[in-house]
Symmetry: C2
Subunit: 465 residues, 2 copies
């Protein structure tokens, strides 16, 4: 630290030196998330240990006109927690208390730094269930999940994080301490600021407490793996499953490139004949679950499945899911550079969108393995390349991908958010009037624009990439 | 009309005289909703016949600095559509086209004036289901439902209107035409302005098109009526049903005053021994539905039900529901004045809140029959009186009711909204900082405060009733 940094000195005075870390190591470590965003070093990191620390940190930074980047575990994929301008980083991971699990009202009160996987475990011990399950659940925080409105495979049946946030405590950059929402199943008292906060990517307020809805834990889960000769067949099978009202909790797609990569990384994870695969989970009461599994199996077979494999015990279930969990790493091993997109199209456009992805990959000669939450039309399209000179082709492929997505009535992001990386593509989906309305709301809650600046909203007048 | 009213003349010029009605009759008719709000006559009524009419009407009124009160069928209970200051009324009921029912993507595109019951019928003909079912479904409009975030009995399983609004087209008072949200199951592109609009009671924008999510229609519905000797027993049975994860779609409570009133109005609607009753519906696949019904029946019997009656055919089902549908009218017949409140408490506080209601009714000597969506802790507490001199006692009872609700961790409104009637109680539930944040958002989207003014938010500095 430059010892003349008034903001950092004031933070030390207000919070105590133990909560302000300006070591090069910590600054570098917390300057970035899991995206490829270009970052700068923050002035220092504030480690909030109680919720009052959040308020104090924001107050001091506001007074000094210094930007603040709040962060959880930094697992974001679009740069939401990346430091892109001169800032203080506000680390919320030490705010990690599960304050209450209310078995009578099915509500959980947590601090934002609780790791999502720990939350899952804590509520499941009580016979309850918190459905959102982002891939990074073992290390991401619930605060980050709320900020990004995270999803995951189980969103197909259970919805995304927003559907489980009843209320919260949060602090705005101008120091307002807001208690938002409610602890009741219903409530229409005033504007829904809770929903506005969910998915606002740390640009409107910093959460200090979250009130989450949980549901009874399903008694049984059954897992099916169906293999197909072509992705078109798999796409049609997805539509059929949804149409039949089978209410699977997950319908995950793996294309042939992904299946190959998985087999390389974990030879026994997939049957040898799996060219394209669907991983399907059905949960509920045992009898009901079995009946729906049977209907799902028939439907898959009638729609071109070569084979339908049902896990017979927990070990088999874990083996099937291991295919999915090794995937991201397996793809990364195949090339020097990897970009992971996160588009959504209406379910009926899934097959057409998958065709478009193949056409773009062929035209630009970039590998574009695709997997994701097919039941929701939410595809993780990956771009893999090793030769840096291919970057212009990658950029063209991304543009074409987004343009086709929008042409199909889709959206740029299903669960990763906008952050920095997709900000300058917002104009493809949203009109200047819609962007202006969001800027007006941002100004209403953060007039000086100091909270997580340059995220989500493109600069006014920016006409896109 | 005063023929020198420039705003009305400008509206006639912009929209054509046939869309502007300044007859005394129409002005009086559309000055109020179904609440007891004190109203004034609007200058004129604009009848929007296409979405461009909404834009034009707002533009002209903004130019003339005249307030606008948008309305659907006017079935609101809190004055959201009541005219309380010099205004133009913007009637959206003629915007009533069901534009698309998309069977592949389970999305329905409608104009705001579509009657909710007509929407139910239209989607059910296609094997689809739009769960929100406010009591006034036969005549309220979907636009009003979205503006108020309406609920209804089925909210217990399926959630409220907000959970089914994916996106919309809307026009702000400053003329911005906003296309918000998405047509896909997931999406996290920018701030969730769609959720902000839902429940904003016509104060932020006027809807011209709504994109609604629908689900496959459940194959079977079973209806149970359980009778109890005391409301405490019934309250405990509700908790037990929810805890068992039976996932009833409705759990409706009728207290003893309500049961008496129903028997007076429709002698055969309830069994003679029903002192307190729960009306429960379970839906799903036939076998699953039957299994859950059986578990529900056992649970009710084990928790003090005197009798559990299962409807054996559609006629019996309708008879059971007729008890619920005659209720509001039956209560009104019992007294000259009726005020209907709409509180929510955490489910675990239901029994305590019901005790509080009885204590308040006794103390103030006002009849306070209570019914409602017990599964959600959402109670419609009615106040009945005939002697106008009892008004101060009624006011004390309402204050005590709200204070106990908040003390139990509840909320002022579960589905009726705030409108005018509850606006000055907002401070009981929300801090000055939260109210200020909402005012800032209101100003961001409606800087001159012309769209449905004096609704939802109390005047700054107002310290409550």
């Amino acid at each position: 630290m430059r010892r003349d940094d008034r903001c950092v000195l004031a933070l030390e005075r207000a919070l105590g030196a133990s909560k302000v870390d300006d070591s090069d190591e910590r600054r570098a470590q917390l300057s970035r998330d899991e995206s490829e965003t270009d970052c700068v070093l923050p002035r220092a990191v504030v480690i909030a240990r109680e919720s009052a620390d959040v308020r104090e940190a924001l107050r001091v930074c506001e007074e000094h006109g210094v930007a603040v980047v709040p962060r959880g575990a930094g697992t974001g994929r679009t740069g939401g927690a990346a430091v892109v301008v001169d800032s203080i980083v506000l680390d919320t991971t030490a705010l990690c208390d599960v304050k209450d699990i209310d078995r009578d009202d099915n509500i959980v009160i947590v601090e934002p730094g609780v790791v999502t996987g720990a939350l899952h475990a804590a509520v499941e011990r009580e016979g309850l269930f918190f459905p959102p399950d982002p891939q990074s659940a073992a290390w991401c925080t619930i605060g980050g999940n709320v900020a990004e409105n995270a999803g995951g495979p189980r969103a197909h049946r259970y919805g995304v994080t927003r559907d489980y946030v009843l209320g919260m405590r949060a602090v705005t950059m101008s120091g307002a301490e807001l208690t938002l929402g409610r602890r009741t199943p219903k409530g229409v008292t005033g504007y829904d600021l809770t929903s506005l906060m969910v998915g606002s990517e740390g640009t409107l307020a910093v959460f200090t407490e979250l009130w989450l809805r949980v549901i009874p834990k399903p008694a049984t889960v059954r897992t099916l793996l169906a293999t197909f000769a072509s992705i078109t067949d798999a796409g049609r099978a997805v539509t059929a499953i949804v149409r039949k009202g089978i209410f699977a909790r997950c319908i995950e797609l793996l294309d042939s490139y992904c299946c190959d990569a998985i087999r390389d990384a974990a030879p026994s994870a997939l049957p040898p004949n799996a060219s394209v695969a669907l991983l399907i989970e059905i949960d509920g009461d045992p009898e009901d679950c079995d009946a729906r599994c049977e209907r799902a199996g028939e439907t898959l077979t009638n729609h071109g499945a070569i084979d339908v494999f049902a896990a017979q015990h927990e070990g088999e279930r874990e083996r099937l899911w291991s295919a999915r969990s090794v995937l991201s790493r397996a793809l990364r091993a195949r090339a020097r550079f990897k970009l992971s997109e996160d588009i959504v199209v209406p379910r009926s456009k899934l097959a057409a969108m998958l065709d478009d992805v193949r056409a773009i990959a062929e035209r630009e000669q970039i590998a574009m393995p695709t997997y994701g939450h097919a039941g929701d039309g939410n595809l993780h399209v990956n771009l893999l390349w090793s030769d840096p000179s291919l970057r212009p082709a990658v950029d063209r492929a991304v543009r074409a991908l987004f343009e086709r997505t929008i042409a199909h009535g889709g959206t740029l992001s299903g669960e990763h958010g906008i952050g920095v990386l997709k900000r300058d593509w917002m104009h493809l989906e949203q009109s200047p009037a819609v962007l202006d309305a969001q800027r007006a709301i941002k100004r209403a809650l953060d007039p000086r624009g100091l909270l997580n600046p340059h995220k989500v909203l493109p600069a006014p007048g920016h006409r896109g990439c």
